[in-house]
Subunit: 268 residues, 4 copies
Amino acid sequence: MPDRYDQVRYELALASRMLANEGVLDAFGHVSLRHPGDPSKFLLSRSRSPQLVEAADILEYTLDAEPVRPTTHRLFAERVIHGCIYAARPDVAAVCHHHAAAVLPFCVAGVPIVPVFHLGAAVGAAMPFWDQQDEFGDTNLLVAKPEEGRSLARALAPHPAVLMRHHGATVVGGDLRELVSRSIFMCQNATYQLQAHMLGKVVPLSAGETRLAGSLNALPTVVGRTWEYWTYRLAEAGRLPPLARAKSRSAPGRSRARGKTGRKQRRS
Amino acid sequence: MPDRYDQVRYELALASRMLANEGVLDAFGHVSLRHPGDPSKFLLSRSRSPQLVEAADILEYTLDAEPVRPTTHRLFAERVIHGCIYAARPDVAAVCHHHAAAVLPFCVAGVPIVPVFHLGAAVGAAMPFWDQQDEFGDTNLLVAKPEEGRSLARALAPHPAVLMRHHGATVVGGDLRELVSRSIFMCQNATYQLQAHMLGKVVPLSAGETRLAGSLNALPTVVGRTWEYWTYRLAEAGRLPPLARAKSRSAPGRSRARGKTGRKQRRS
Amino acid sequence: MPDRYDQVRYELALASRMLANEGVLDAFGHVSLRHPGDPSKFLLSRSRSPQLVEAADILEYTLDAEPVRPTTHRLFAERVIHGCIYAARPDVAAVCHHHAAAVLPFCVAGVPIVPVFHLGAAVGAAMPFWDQQDEFGDTNLLVAKPEEGRSLARALAPHPAVLMRHHGATVVGGDLRELVSRSIFMCQNATYQLQAHMLGKVVPLSAGETRLAGSLNALPTVVGRTWEYWTYRLAEAGRLPPLARAKSRSAPGRSRARGKTGRKQRRS
Amino acid sequence: MPDRYDQVRYELALASRMLANEGVLDAFGHVSLRHPGDPSKFLLSRSRSPQLVEAADILEYTLDAEPVRPTTHRLFAERVIHGCIYAARPDVAAVCHHHAAAVLPFCVAGVPIVPVFHLGAAVGAAMPFWDQQDEFGDTNLLVAKPEEGRSLARALAPHPAVLMRHHGATVVGGDLRELVSRSIFMCQNATYQLQAHMLGKVVPLSAGETRLAGSLNALPTVVGRTWEYWTYRLAEAGRLPPLARAKSRSAPGRSRARGKTGRKQRRS
């Protein structure tokens, strides 16, 4: 990938770590981006926990989820999720697959997530539920085969997210920032929905409210504020992605700050 | 704003960060203060997450929520909440609008928050519930128009707080410290009420207890203790607001400590 | 208080901060110790959040909760809780009053806490419930008058702890370490009991198990392990009490490490 | 133990701290490893909280839970759990006994943990429940006598884990990494199961899914990813075990970094 994509790969690593820092991703889960210069390719990390992903870990894949260049790195078993969704949904530029703790109880109970507060409208009115068992019988529940990925993409259809029985969720966005905010708001929505259920009654937004509030997370005042805030929190935790090697070579004084754990790292 | 208000703006930034640090505010929410020298104005940050607000971000507004001086900054879409409440409630000197996780389940389920422990009495006996849908039909749920702000202020009436259906809450105080403690105790109260509900029975304070315990948070031993504690926790997290520029210029040794994330910052 | 009690006051400040660090105490709550040389006195901090208490904050009180020496410091309104219990219970050497989040739902719902796991047996088989309303009608719920303190002590009777309706709990111990472990295990027990209730059935320990497991927290392997662990966690958070002034004067290099927030402080 | 086992003891201390850092272990709980060179012995720390265990704390025991060499250290009262399981289960190379908060509600309510998400399949289809009361009547609930340890091992039978009424759980693994991931996934599974129960319906994996997904945590992409992630999190928290003394002697510059709390320690 040419140097002009360095910034794109940094942004993807940033989004990956941001989603980990906000509790959407943990040891597992992954975020991808459609290649900005070639819609028939996408960018995704080698197999690595999302909190640890760096720009240098990010590889190019074709839409059938094969690496564009030969690599010796281990790859995610479930990268077909990304390829099949990019193939089926030309409007999608970013995909996140996760096992967020806030969402898993719904995946276990088979209860749909519905929008229950204004920012939660970003998940849409009717989130589909996909059960791998229905089409493939007993599996290890990984979405590793092309036909499994295609089945998931069919279930997603034109929706912003799909729940995966006994497994997690997959969320899509028109760009990386929409994807990040939608993934975070979906987890908050799930938490509030569970607790409202315990209080006795879950009243979702009306169809009209869902439609009108569904684009709140694209407002410049909202995007500007959340991106600054989530970046601040990532920096505060010492978890920003390291800068690219070329740059750090010209700033050797920074090298001590990028230790294994990154706790002292600061963005210049 | 003349220099004599520097301390006031610092206190407002401090309150904003304190409420973020204690879990009342997150990427969203805002705190305002009636102008101490002119009751027809109020002070509120430009559009920014409350954890990041500095004294320099705080602007003056008229009660119709227009900035007193022209500005190129982005402003909060919901600043009418503050203006309309200051106009309707001469006794109110400070306002906080938030989406606290502790309160949202009640906003979804439509269940009233009632005082369930002595410090929770600060929220009053009968908290009103406002549903934007009732008067305005389908909206994006933001309180952005003057008539929406006035409707919310009417629902608040003489109460210390109002719940907002599918959205959050707005809390008021006679001064900034009362506002902060009331907002924090209201979240604790909501958490205990939800869990008591799960145990089987929510027994609120009696009317007499609510009245007598309602002013506990104004006792000097209570205000002194909580303000020291919440400030300590903010300092411990490295999240105190930066000191004003004039002062930091005369203390250049401090400049390294006020990096982007503020983790090493200490109040002198 | 003579110098030989410096260590005792340091231990009390340590216990106070430990209980705050483990989530039993927050902005409120207080821990006291019967005076080791004079059973008709007790030691308790001036009015201050327990996380901030230092040895120098600790004052001597008579059992009627008056300070032994005149002081200009603000004092806790509820210090009669301690005096009345020391007067009524010669076996008690340490008292903790708290509003722990784990316990409050039980105080609201009026549901008794029962021992549900081996370490929870430290709270005893039958925890009494005290409602200030029963004897005093509507109050602000503070236990501030001697007759309120005596009423609470009568309700406590020979038990290890008493729940206080709409308010919190008071726990006692034969020494400071028993008090600390009992307070922490009681909160854990409450959390597990609430969640077991949600699973459908709370089965308490048998009377025999409660009696046999009730002294586990006095075993040398248990006391040694927990005290080391909770001290470690306090030190890791940078929250150990500062050393006495006399000592720090002879070790000036340490002074920088004991800043306002204490984050860098380490015990030598 | 000869020097060639230094790395083994370091790995065991690492696993112990990792399980504490991920919330499986707290002040209590312990992890052991069958001796890699002698299956009739096992390695276990002296009595100490698992977050604090260092390689130097780890002692060798015979399968009847007696130390191989005389020691003046305090030992865990419940070390028979480990010895009896190694004696009964030749396939087991690592054992963890814990009181994890996620699991305790099930131990109190007597509700079985069942696999509810793909990674949770690591706990197996049918987790046995052991109640010390059944065979031994009223006890202090510690598993301290050989006959109690043998009874627990019989209840475990060929399963990956056993729940202990009013006490906690014991988990086993074919190697240390399988044990760690199984223990962590079991806690996540318990949390999701409890919340799914609150949503109304717990649907476990099918028998076939449990069998197929049960070995996911042995996949190289999974083991590699989780071990890197949990180690990163431990390092980030400043909680890695100190390096062995011999090495630190040759690297004196590191000594300052291994203070009591370890916050500044970094692995070289």
